[in-house]
Amino acid sequence: MNNVQTVSKPTPKDFATDQEVRWCPGCGDYAILKCMQRILPEIDARPENTVFVSGIGCASRFPYYMETYGFHTIHGRAPAIATGVKLANPELDVWVVTGDGDGLSIGGNHLLHALRRNVDLNILLFNNEIYGLTKGQYSPTSRIGTKTASTPYGSVDRPIDACQFALGCGSTFIARTVDTDQKHMPTVFKRAHAHKGASFVEIFQNCIVYNDAVFADFTDKAVAAEAQLHAIHGEPLLYGKEKNKGLRIKPGTVQLEAVIIGKDGVTLDDIIVHDETDKTLASLLVNLERPDFPMVLGVIYANPESTFEAEIHKQIESVKAESGKADLNAFIRQGRIWEVT
C-alpha cells in the first residue's frame, strides 16, 4: 500500500472524477452516484482496491464518474467480466452496475450464473423499466401495455421481477431500494458491501425522459409511507404512517395477507417478524404485488455462503500443498519418455 494514500481518509470528493456527468438532468442515476460516493469513505473503501464494472446502457456510464478502477464493458457481460476480475484477484472490491435491459435481457444468462456461483460481487441493477440509452423501447421489466417507440400499441409480453429472478438464481443476498431515498439507499449499499458473496440490489430508478413516474405509486413522498414496507431483520413487517399495518400469514393458507392492527382482532403478535435468512419468507415477500400489497424494500434475503472464487482458490491451494513444488520440466517428462542418442 502506498503510504501517502493511507494517511488521509478519503472523502466523497475523492471518489468523484473530473469527468462531466452526462445523464439527463433529473435522472435518478445522479442520486445513486451521490450515494455511492458518500458511502465508500464511510465503509473505508480504498479507491485503488475498488473496481466498478458495467455493461451498456445509461446506468453503465457509472464507472466513468467514480475515481476508482472502472471498466465499461459490453452489453450484458459485466457479471462475466467481473467474475474474471475476482478469479484473478479475490481481494478486490468489485461492484457491478447494470440495468434492466443489460442485466435481465441481453445479459440475463451471466447475471444468473454470477448469482448462482455466489461470486463476491455487489451487483446494482438500476431498474427503470425502459431502454433509455437507445431512446425509449420497452424492457423486460416493463409492465404489460407499456407504450414505447417499439410498442406503440402497448407491450404484450409479461415482465420479469428482478428480485424474483435473483432469488430463483440462488442469490445469497437480495435487497431493494429507491433512487431518491438518500436515507434508505446508503444502508442497503453498506449491507450489500458487507455481504460476502453475490449481493443483488434492485434500485427503482426514475428515467425522467422515457418512463417518468413509473414507480410513483410507491415512491411519491405523499404515498411512500403507506405504500412501502421497509423490511428489517428481527423486526415485525410493519408499514404505514402509523406503523399500524403489517403482513401476516393468512390463516389456513401459505399466503401473506396485508392487515391492520386492531382491526378484525389482529394484534402485533400476528405480524410476521422478518427473518432475512428465511428463503421461503423472502420468496413470499418478492412475490407481493402492488397495489394490494406494499412494495417491500430493504434487505429481503441474506444468507452468506462460501464464495466461488474462494472455493476455486482453496482447491488450487490444496492441490499445491499436496503436490509440492510444481516443476513444469518434470511435469512434461511424466509418463513414457525415451532417449535418442
Binding site: M1, N2, Q5, T17, D18, Q19, R46, P47, E48, N49, V51, V53, P63, Y64, M66, E67, T68, Y69, G70, F71, H72, T73, I74, R77, A80, I81, A82, T83, G84, V85, K86, L87, A88, N89, L92, N109, H110, L112, H113, I312, H313, Q315, I316, V319, K320, E322, S323, G324, A326, L328, N329, F331, I332, R333, R336, I337, W338, E339, V340, T341
Partner: protein, 630 residues
C-alpha cells in the same frame, strides 16, 4: 476358419518398407482409441518416428455395429522422418463388418486386412448394410487378408477370469493389440505397465486384459500365421538426439500456455466453454492446478472470453479457447479487448463449418474469421502452429505477443493437430526466453493525471496499470478513447488517430517475428508450396518426394498469418509459381493476393480429412510437368 492368404513375395516387399501406416477400426465400444494409442506408445519406445490420427465417430453413443458408430485410429511410423498419419493404410485391423465397410476403401491396394470373423454374422452384416458377406464374395480379393475369429479366441483366453461374456469380449482390443505387437516386433512391457496402473484396483479386468494381450501375441508367434508371415520390422528413426515423448497438439498447447504463464510470471486464468475439438485443453489445464492455473468453465462462450478479459484487466494472463461457432460468439468481446488494449490469448481449434458443420472433422476454414471476424477496423495478430509439438512453442509465442503488445492474439489450430500425436523432443523450460511484463506501479507526478493509453514509443503498447495499484485509478471501456488522456472521446480526428495507432501497433509486430525461410528446397525455383497450420506434414513429404524426382520445388510454411513476415513478398518473388494447399476454399490465397498482390494457385480440400501426401505430390507434378509441357 483362420487362414492367411499372404504370399511370400508380398511379405518381403512389405518388410522392406521404411514406413508403415496401420489403421485400427472397430465399433466405438471396442476400445479402438486405447488400442491405437498404446500401440503408438510401444512404437515410440522402440525409437520409430511416428504420427497418429484418431478418427472419432460424430455420435457419442451410436448404435453398436453401425457404420456411423465406427471409430478408427491411424498411425504412421517409420525409420525416416514421419510428419503425417499417412495417406493410405498398409494394414487395416477391422473388428467388425461396419469397420471394414467404412475403412476398406482407403486401404492401399494389396494392403493387409485383419478381420475378426467372429463378428461377421448376419445381424452385423445387415447393420453394416452388407448385402453379402465380404469375406466370402470376393470383396477382399485385391488385398491380403488374415481372417481370425478374434472374438472366440479372446473368450477362450480370458475364460478363467470370471468375467461375463460381455466384459470378456471387451478384451478383444487387447487381443488384437497383442497380435499387432508381435507383427511389428514391439515390446509388450509398456502395455503391461499401463494395464497394471489403469486397473490396479480391478484385478480381474487387469488379468483378463493381460491374458488377452498375451494370447494375441502368442497367436502370431505359434500358429500357422508364422509359417508364411514373419512380421514387419521398422527400425529406429533418425531423430535428433535428446529425450522424447509422444505429445498431442492439445497437450502441447495446454503445456505451452502454462509455460507462457511461467515465463511471464503471470498466473494463468483460462475461461472456456465445452466444444469439440477444443475441450481437451480445458481438461488438461484443469489438471494443472499445482501451477496455480485457474480454469473456469463458463456459462457460455461469451462469458468464457469475458472472464479471461476480466482476469487480464486484473493483472493475470487471460486465455480463452473454442472452435469456430464459439469464436463467432466471442467476436464482440475480442473487439473489446483490442479496443481497451488488454492482453488476451484466444485459441481457435478449427473444425468443419459453417454452422455446426462437422464437429469431429478437421478444416482450416476459420482463417477469415480470425483475421476479419469483428466489427470495426479491428486488427488482431494471428498465428498458427504447424504440428502437435509446435503447439507448445506457438502457445508461448501467443502469450509473448499478447503481453508485449497489449493485444488479443488468435492462435489457429485445428481438429487434426488437437488429436494427432508425434514424438516430441522435450524442451528444457529453464532455457526458454523469459517474457518480460511491465505493470506500472508508480503514480503520475503531482498534479498530472494518469493516462492509461500512454504508449511505448517502439511497440506502441499502452501502459498496463492493474487494479489494486494506488494512485493509478483509471477507467477504460469500449467507447473510443482520447489518444492524449484515455478519457472517452467522440472527436473525429482522435478516432482517426486511434484507429491508425491500433493498426500500426499490430502491423509493427512484423519487426518482432522471424523472417520467413523455406522448410525444404532452395530459396528460389520453379514452384513454392505454401501452407499454414496442420498441412505441414503432407506438404513436407510431398515436397521431399517431388525433389527426389528432380522437381525444383520448395516448401514455405507460415506460422505468423497477421502480420505476415516482412520478407515474404521478396521470398515469393524468387519463385515462378506458388501453390497453396488449404483445407478450405482458398482463404490464404485471398489473403496473399490482398497483402502481396500476387496470384497463387489454390489446392483445396474440405472433406473433413487431412490432405494426403499423394494429393499434394500430384498437384506439384501437375504444375511442374503437365502444365509446363502445355
Amino acid at each position: 476358419m483362420e487362414s492367411s492368404s499372404l504370399k511370400q513375395d508380398q511379405r518381403s516387399q512389405a518388410s522392406d518398407l521404411e514406413s508403415m501406416v496401420v489403421r485400427f477400426a472397430g465399433d466405438s465400444g471396442d476400445g479402438i482409441q486405447l488400442t491405437g494409442s498404446q500401440f503408438a506408445v510401444s512404437t515410440a519406445l522402440s525409437g520409430s518416428d511416428l504420427a497418429t490420427f484418431p478418427d472419432f465417430p460424430a455420435e457419442i453413443r451410436a448404435p453398436a455395429g453401425t457404420t456411423f458408430g465406427v471409430s478408427a485410429f491411424q498411425i504412421n511410423f517409420g525409420s525416416g522422418v514421419v510428419k503425417t498419419a499417412g495417406d493410405e493404410p498398409d494394414v487395416l485391423v477391422a473388428l467388425n463388418p461396419a469397420a471394414l465397410k467404412v475403412n476398406l476403401p482407403i486401404l492401399r491396394e494389396g494392403g493387409l486386412v485383419i478381420v475378426d470373423t467372429g463378428t461377421f454374422v448376419d445381424r452385423n452384416l445387415k447393420k453394416a448394410k452388407y448385402e453379402s458377406n465380404p469375406l466370402k464374395d470376393g470383396s477382399l480379393d485385391a488385398y491380403r487378408k488374415i481372417e481370425i475369429d478374434i472374438s472366440r479366441l479372446t473368450l477362450e483366453a480370458v475364460k478363467d477370469s470370471g468375467l461375463g461374456k460381455k466384459d470378456a469380449l471387451r478384451c478383444k482390443n487387447l487381443w488384437s493389440l497383442g497380435l499387432m505387437l508381435w507383427l511389428f516386433g514391439r515390446k509388450r512391457k509398456p502395455i503391461f505397465d499401463w494395464l497394471e496402473q489403469k486397473f490396479a484396483k480391478v484385478e480381474s479386468i487387469r488379468d483378463a486384459n493381460i491374458a488377452a494381450l498375451n494370447a494375441g501375441h502368442a497367436y502370431g508367434e505359434t500358429t500357422e500365421l508364422s509359417a508364411n508371415f514373419t512380421g514387419f520390422r521398422i527400425g529406429p528413426s533418425e531423430l535428433a538426439p535428446g529425450t522424447y515423448r509422444t505429445v498431442t497438439g492439445s497437450q502441447a498447447l495446454a503445456w505451452g500456455l502454462v509455460a507462457g504463464s511461467h515465463l511471464s510470471g503471470l498466473p494463468l486464468v483460462y475461461g472456456s466453454y465445452p466444444i469439440t475439438p477444443a475441450s481437451p485443453i480445458l481438461h488438461l489445464l484443469s489438471q494443472m492446478k499445482q501451477f496455480g492455473v485457474v480454469t473456469f468453465q463458463a456459462e457460455d462462450e461469451i462469458a468464457a472470453v469475458c472472464s479471461a478479459i476480466g482476469a487480464s484487466y486484473a493483472g493475470s494472463l487471460g486465455v480463452t479457447s473454442s472452435s469456430g461457432p464459439g469464436i463467432a460468439l466471442k467476436a464482440e468481446a475480442i473487439g473489446l479487448a483490442l479496443s481497451v488494449e488488454l492482453p488476451l490469448v484466444v485459441v481457435s481449434s478449427q473444425r468443419g463449418g459453417p454452422s455446426t458443420g462437422l464437429p469431429t472433422k478437421t478444416e482450416q476454414s476459420d482463417l477469415y474469421q480470425a483475421l476479419y471476424g469483428r466489427n470495426g477496423d479491428a486488427p488482431v495478430p494471428v498465428i498458427a502452429p504447424r504440428s502437435p509439438g509446435d503447439c507448445f512453442f506457438m502457445a508461448i509465442e501467443a502469450v509473448r505477443i499478447a503481453l508485449k503488445y497489449m493485444t488479443p492474439v488468435i492462435l489457429l489450430t485445428d481438429g487434426y493437430l488437437a488429436n494427432a500425436a508425434e514424438p516430441w523432443l522435450l524442451p528444457d523450460i529453464d532455457t526458454l526466453d523469459p517474457i518480460p511484463v511491465t505493470q506500472r506501479t508508480t503514480p503520475p507526478e503531482q498534479g498530472r493525471a494518469f493516462n492509461p493509453f500512454e504508449r511505448d514509443p517502439v511497440t506502441l503498447a499502452r501502459t498496463w496499470a492493474v487494479p489494486g495499484t494506488p494512485g493509478l485509478e483509471h477507467r477504460i471501456g469500449g467507447l473510443e478513447k482520447s489518444y492524449d488522456t484515455g478519457h472517452i472521446s467522440y472527436d473525429h480526428e482522435n478516432h482517426q488517430k486511434m484507429t491508425d495507432v491500433r493498426q500500426a501497433k499490430v502491423a509493427g509486430i512484423a519487426d518482432d517475428i522471424p523472417e520467413q525461410t523455406t522448410e525444404g528446397g532452395e530459396q528460389s525455383g520453379a514452384l513454392a508450396v505454401v501452407g499454414w497450420g496442420s498441412t505441414y506434414g503432407p506438404i513436407y513429404h510431398a515436397v521431399i518426394r517431388a525433389r527426389a524426382e528432380g522437381l525444383a520445388v520448395s516448401h514455405i510454411h507460415l506460422r505468423h498469418l497477421n502480420p505476415l513476415p516482412r520478407n515474404l513478398g521478396n521470398l515469393f518473388d524468387g519463385f515462378d509459381r506458388i501453390l497453396v494447399p488449404e483445407m478450405n476454399t482458398g482463404q490464404l490465397v485471398t489473403v496473399l493476393r490482398d497483402r502481396l498482390l500476387i496470384d497463387t494457385i489454390p489446392l483445396n480440400k474440405v472433406s473433413g480429412q487431412p490432405f494426403k501426401i499423394s494429393e499434394i505430390l500430384d498437384a506439384i507434378r501437375d504444375e511442374l510437368l503437365a502444365k509446363a509441357a502445355e
